[in-house]
């Protein structure tokens, strides 16, 4: 009597293939799942109370970032525009648009709008907008082609490795200070090199990857 039946080979092969498959799935789960867009919410535009378009306001009308994000040069937080800021224009234009109803309601009832965050950092990360602006890091370095977005979506993973990639080597991401808020800035041959700007803005990299720079 044969020890192994006719189906033994099949079982063996199935087991081997299954084990390899399981291993591959595990590797996928460990290496790939964390970085796929579904998980990082990269390129994901959450639903907002008002379908605000940066493309229209920035690229179309030419508004400066700081018109709405008033705190970005002074504070850790860029500042979300208050209802009153929206209403400086929208009390005059598109006053009847149904799209802007929540805005008008907010002003009338003195109840703030509730936007959904696109960029969220954990509580133990202390990011400061103002210092990045002062050192010549343009808005688009982190926020992508924000000026061309119809709905706002997240342009990066916000993973620590992504933060560190720049903190370890900021030079390629720096630009002249007066171009920081330009959503369509491109490096040209006449632009000062990253290293020149590093020296000019006193950016020293020795400390930039210290834990205590962001974690307190």
């Amino acid at each position: 009597m044969a020890i192994f039946g006719p189906r033994a080979n099949l079982l063996m092969n199935a087991t081997l293939i299954g084990a390899v498959g399981l291993g591959a799935c595990l590797l996928l789960a460990v290496w790939v799942v964390p970085v796929i867009g579904y998980n990082t919410q990269e390129r994901f535009a959450p639903e907002q109370p008002i379908p605000f378009s940066h493309n229209h306001h920035v690229s179309g009308l030419g508004l400066d970032c700081r018109y709405c994000h008033t705190m970005v040069e002074k504070s850790s937080s860029a500042g979300m525009p208050s209802t009153a800021i929206c209403m400086t224009c929208h009390s005059q234009v598109w006053t009847n648009a149904a799209m802007l109803r929540p805005d008008q309601q907010s002003l009338a009832e003195k109840v703030p709008l509730r936007w959904t965050r696109v960029y969220t950092l954990p509580d133990y990360v202390f990011f400061d907008h103002s210092i990045h602006i002062a050192k010549g890091v343009g808005c688009t370095e982190c926020h992508g082609q924000i000026g061309d977005m119809d709905l706002t979506w997240k342009a990066t993973t916000l993973y620590m490795s992504w933060c560190l990639s720049c903190h370890r080597d900021p030079a390629p991401r720096l630009r002249p200070r007066d171009e920081v808020f330009n959503p369509h800035w491109r490096r040209t041959p006449s632009t000062a090199s990253g290293d020149t700007l590093m020296a000019q803005y006193n950016v020293r990299t020795a400390h930039l990857s210290d834990c205590g720079i962001c974690h307190r």
Partner: protein
């Protein structure tokens, strides 16, 4: 290991090297002795099963959506998210104001700092002031207005008071009484004066349990009128304290402590140093800092002071002829004081008898202190009457039915009045009583109307400091729990309707500014409110000398007690009981006992031995025919035959403090508020485990404190601290850019605990509770270790603040398996909470024991609103190690601000929380690489040393050795 120059010990058990103590140290894990026996295997399995079964429930319920972004509707001017804005106001204690600046983050008050422009603060802030922010947010504060046992409204109360007012007007206010604490507020005083005009038969009474009636009575007999005394310690080369609270609690003590410490840093003043003497029955901060200290019974104190007065010509010659066991000591001190006439100062604590205070005035007169080290000023209080008498009269009238309307504004006599008055019984005879209180306290619950009071940070008011300087208090927020102020209640009674306190106060000041010719009112008001000080309001000094006949008319000397005397003393944290609901103050280790969450009867080691008592024993004492069961704490340095009983505990109602500790007010009598004979002490045989942190770490013969005499410092400063070049096989790590470092001066540290609480407030350090303290899990990032040396009956005390040392060769870092604690390029030992997996290896390997572990989710268990935490600092959860960060959030925000403007960081720009609050500037922080920085200069002095240098950890925190200035004429009695 170098041999210590003298033997230091932290607890009596350690000194005695009792076998139990040795066993405790020997046990592998002493920290777990409370935990491992907490439940058995069966119970453990039950709990585990239950937690598994219920685990899913945690997913239920709604949480606020963290992904929401909520902008303003209309943004307020000048609010910058992430940046502190400061608003000036004042906190008051017993009526006296200390100026503060309150840090706001997006309009939320988060931290209290001292106002550098205010004379009572000079930038320092006490532990109690720091903790006031937690009281402000306390959700246990009174929130419900109750009238006649039913929930009522403010409008309902206003209507009821209006009716009452009409009735009172018809009889000119007969039967109307107002009871307040000590009042320094000019506006409240003006309101009360107007009330007196409207209701001529009304009477205003004052009560506070920790009153200064004895000082006041002494002023009356010494100067013939009530005067206040303020002190100039910058001129005082010799200080003699009689159980003095000069650098601990007296109004203005923060400023006094600063001036005191400034004269005791010989390394910075070129070898100059003041000398302090202290005689006391129970240890005080001044006694701990004194170069010579005697622990004396109360009767001995009085006798010694008479002796001293006789020697100095402040009393009859024959006083100096009497026998005194301490004659040699006192003679030497008297000679020293006499040699420094004009630069000497004698001060007695508020608990001393009127006799002692009269003697102090006479001695100060003989030493020419008036006008130099002691300034007399008109009383700062609006009505400087004796509080005990005022309350007695009120209670007498209440009892005889003469009082039908009683307004209690900010006092709690049902709890803290002398027991023989029985205020509660008298209050039941008053048909209409109103209590305005911050908590639903004992008096509020016994009154017919109880009104939630607004916190000091929620109202407009004014208050005066010890020297008379007025601060206009501005609210930091609208009342969180709907409270009201005393001004509003009095405003209604004055017929002004329900006016808001801002309008009332502004009207008063408008008039006053006009009378005082202060120019444009709007500008004056703006500057006064903004700066926190009304200019030129300090009281001018009065010139007066004590009358010669004051000492001759003194009563006969106090006789020695037959048995043991009870001394009623304020508590460092709860004060008179008003702060008994503040968790920070309840868990603050007391300076000498290192006790938390309890008060205890303090007795001397010798007395304890005689009575067969030990720490933790419960005894039943009988005082004034009242019996009370109290735990005993054997305190080195306590005078024999007296038992100190800290007031302010054992609250019956209110908030967190209800039922914590024992209530000493039950023993107190109006006639003798500070002292009483104990008729009997009976050991009950039971034991109450006191949560003292003193024995939790041991000295074990290590050389942790360096001290020397001024003489040694002058002759051979190099011998005090032996500096050894640490050897290493590896090249040193370079810090070319900046090297953050801290220098702590042991001469300046007075052990007041302000830094501990400032750190707790700044760094979101949680409170853990008594059980956890007993399990050695207290969380303070900065503790003040207290070391004794010498005999237990009369030890010398040294205080040593212990933050993280930020070792350059940090032992914690090499044992962390996940790199959760690492060094940065400026030398900070950084703790990365989100990496920590809770192995606690780092804590085990830390030779300084400054790391703290979250065994439970303490921060979420702490019942405090989310907005009260400092948003600049991570709130740590269970399973995470934490420790002092040198206030990295302050370093970063200051660095970012400087970098943003492309300018270098200035020395002194980064100030740690402990440094900022320290009244004596004992702590300096800065860049060690900058030769001109204050920290580098202090570290360059010859007396700078680091702890456990032999371990080669190279700490960034260093200490200046303790220098004492003993009197060469006093031999072998340097204690």
């Amino acid at each position: 290991m170098t041999q210590p120059a003298r033997t230091y010990w932290r607890s009596l058990e350690e000194l005695a090297e009792m076998p139990e103590f040795a066993a405790l140290v020997e046990r592998e894990l002493p920290r777990f002795r409370d935990v491992v026996n907490a439940f058995d295997r069966r119970r453990f399995l039950q709990l585990m099963a239950a937690s598994m079964a219920l685990g899913g429930l945690s997913a239920c319920g709604t949480e606020p959506n963290p992904r929401q972004l909520v902008p303003y509707v209309q943004e307020p001017a000048n609010v910058i998210p992430g940046r502190n804005r400061y608003y000036a106001t004042a906190t008051t204690q017993d009526g006296y104001a200390t100026g503060v600046l309150i840090a706001h983050q997006m309009a939320r008050p988060i931290k209290v700092e001292g106002n550098p422009d205010h004379p009572a603060s000079l930038g320092g802030a006490s532990a109690i002031m720091q903790a006031s922010i937690l009281e402000f947010y306390d959700p246990r504060r009174a929130q419900t207005l109750v009238g006649g046992g039913e929930i009522a409204t403010w409008e309902g109360f206003v209507a009821a008071l209006h009716d009452r007012r009409n009735a009172l007007l018809s009889r000119k206010g007969d039967g109307l009484r107002v009871l307040t604490g000590a009042v320094t507020s000019p506006f409240l005083a003006a309101q009360l004066a107007r009330l007196q005009q409207q209701f001529p038969a009304m009477r205003w009474h004052q009560w506070q349990p920790l009153h200064r009636d004895n000082e006041l009575a002494a002023a009356q007999s010494s100067f013939g009128r009530p005067v206040g005394r303020t002190f100039d310690l910058s001129a005082a080369d010799r200080i003699f304290g009689i159980e003095s609270d000069l650098i601990a609690a007296t109004p203005g003590w923060l400023a006094y402590a600063r001036a005191f410490a400034a004269k005791r840093r010989p390394a910075e003043t070129g070898g100059e140093m003041s000398r302090a003497y202290a005689i006391e029955s129970t240890p005080t901060l001044l006694g701990a800092k004194a170069d010579h200290r005697l622990g004396l019974r109360p009767d001995e104190i009085e006798a010694s002071l008479r002796y001293l007065a006789g020697l100095l010509g402040a009393g009859p010659q024959e006083w100096a002829q009497q026998d005194n066991a301490q004659a040699a000591w006192l003679k030497a001190a008297a000679d020293d004081l006499a040699q420094h006439k004009g630069n000497a100062l004698v001060h007695a604590g508020r608990e001393q008898s009127a006799t002692v205070h009269v003697l102090v005035d006479a001695i100060n007169g003989a030493l020419g202190a008036f006008g130099k080290t002691v300034r007399l000023v008109a009383p700062v209080e609006a009505s400087a009457g004796a509080k005990a008498q005022s309350l007695s009269e009120l209670v007498g009238d209440m009892r005889s039915g003469k009082v039908d309307t009683l307004l209690v504004l900010g006092a709690n006599p049902v709890y803290d009045a002398p027991a023989d008055l029985d205020f509660a019984a008298a209050l039941r005879r008053v048909p209409f009583s109103v209590s305005l209180a911050l908590y639903d306290d004992e008096t509020a619950l016994a009154s017919t109307w109880r009104l939630p009071a607004a916190h000091e940070y929620e109202i407009w008011s004014d208050a005066r400091a010890f020297d008379g300087t007025i601060t206009i208090q501005q609210p930091q927020a609208r009342p969180l729990y709907g409270g009201h102020s005393a001004h509003q209640v009095l405003g209604i009674l004055l017929g002004g309707g329900s006016g808001d306190d801002h309008t009332l106060l502004r009207e008063y000041w408008q008039q006053r500014a006009q009378q005082e010719n202060r120019g444009d009112f709007a500008a004056f008001w703006h500057d006064a409110v903004r700066g926190g000080v009304v200019p030129n309001t300090a009281e001018p000094p009065i010139s007066a000398t004590p009358r010669g006949d004051a000492v001759t008319g003194l009563p006969s000397p106090m006789a020695p007690a037959n048995g043991i005397r009870a001394l009623f003393r304020p508590d460092e944290g709860t004060w008179d009981g008003r702060y008994a609901h503040n968790p920070w103050l309840l868990e603050m280790p007391r300076t000498f006992t290192r006790l938390t969450w309890d008060n205890a009867a303090l007795i001397a080691p010798g007395t304890a031995k005689r009575l067969g008592l030990a720490t933790h024993d419960l005894v039943e004492i009988s005082v004034n025919e009242v019996k009370l069961t109290v735990p005993v704490y054997v305190l080195p340095g306590q005078a024999p035959d007296c038992m100190t009983l800290p007031l302010g505990w054992g609250r019956a109602a209110g908030g967190l403090g209800a039922g914590v500790g024992f209530d000493v007010y039950r023993l107190r009598r109006a006639a003798d508020p500070w002292i009483a004979e104990i008729a009997s002490v009976r050991k009950t045989g039971e034991v109450d485990r006191l949560a003292t942190i003193q024995g939790q770490d041991r000295v074990l013969g290590r050389d942790l404190v360096r001290e020397a005499t001024l003489e040694t410092f002058k002759n051979d400063p190099g011998s005090i601290v032996k500096k050894e070049k640490p050897a290493s096989l590896y090249p040193p790590f370079e810090y070319p850019d900046r090297a953050w470092a801290m220098a702590i001066d042991l001469n300046s540290c007075i052990g007041c605990q302000a830094c501990t609480i400032a750190c707790q407030a700044e760094n979101n350090v949680p409170v853990v509770g008594k059980d956890q303290v007993l399990a050695e899990r207290i969380m303070h990032w900065l503790r003040i270790d207290r070391y004794y040396s010498g005999p237990p009956e009369a030890p010398t005390v040294a205080f040593e603040p212990m933050p993280c040392m930020h070792c350059e060769n940090a032992p914690c870092e090499v044992v962390c398996p996940v790199h959760a604690t690492v060094h940065d390029h400026e030398g900070l030992n950084v703790m990365v909470y989100n990496r920590c997996v809770g192995t606690r290896f780092c804590s085990n390997n830390c030779p300084y024991k400054v790391r703290r572990f979250n065994f439970y989710p303490y921060t979420s268990q702490n019942n405090r609103p989310a907005q009260s935490w400092n948003p600049q600092v991570s709130v740590r959860d269970r399973g995470v190690m934490e420790k002092c960060t040198y206030c990295i959030q302050r370093i970063r925000t200051t660095q970012i601000a400087a970098n943003r403007d492309d300018r270098p960081l200035r020395d002194g720009e980064v100030v740690t929380a402990c440094q900022q609050s320290c009244p004596t500037q004992a702590i300096i922080f800065g860049d060690r690489n900058d030769r001109e920085s204050a920290v580098a200069k202090r570290k360059a002095t010859p007396i700078d040393f680091v702890l456990l240098e032999e371990l080669n950890t190279r700490p960034r925190t260093s200490y200046s050795a303790l220098i004492r200035n003993p009197n060469p004429a006093i031999k072998g009695n340097q204690s």
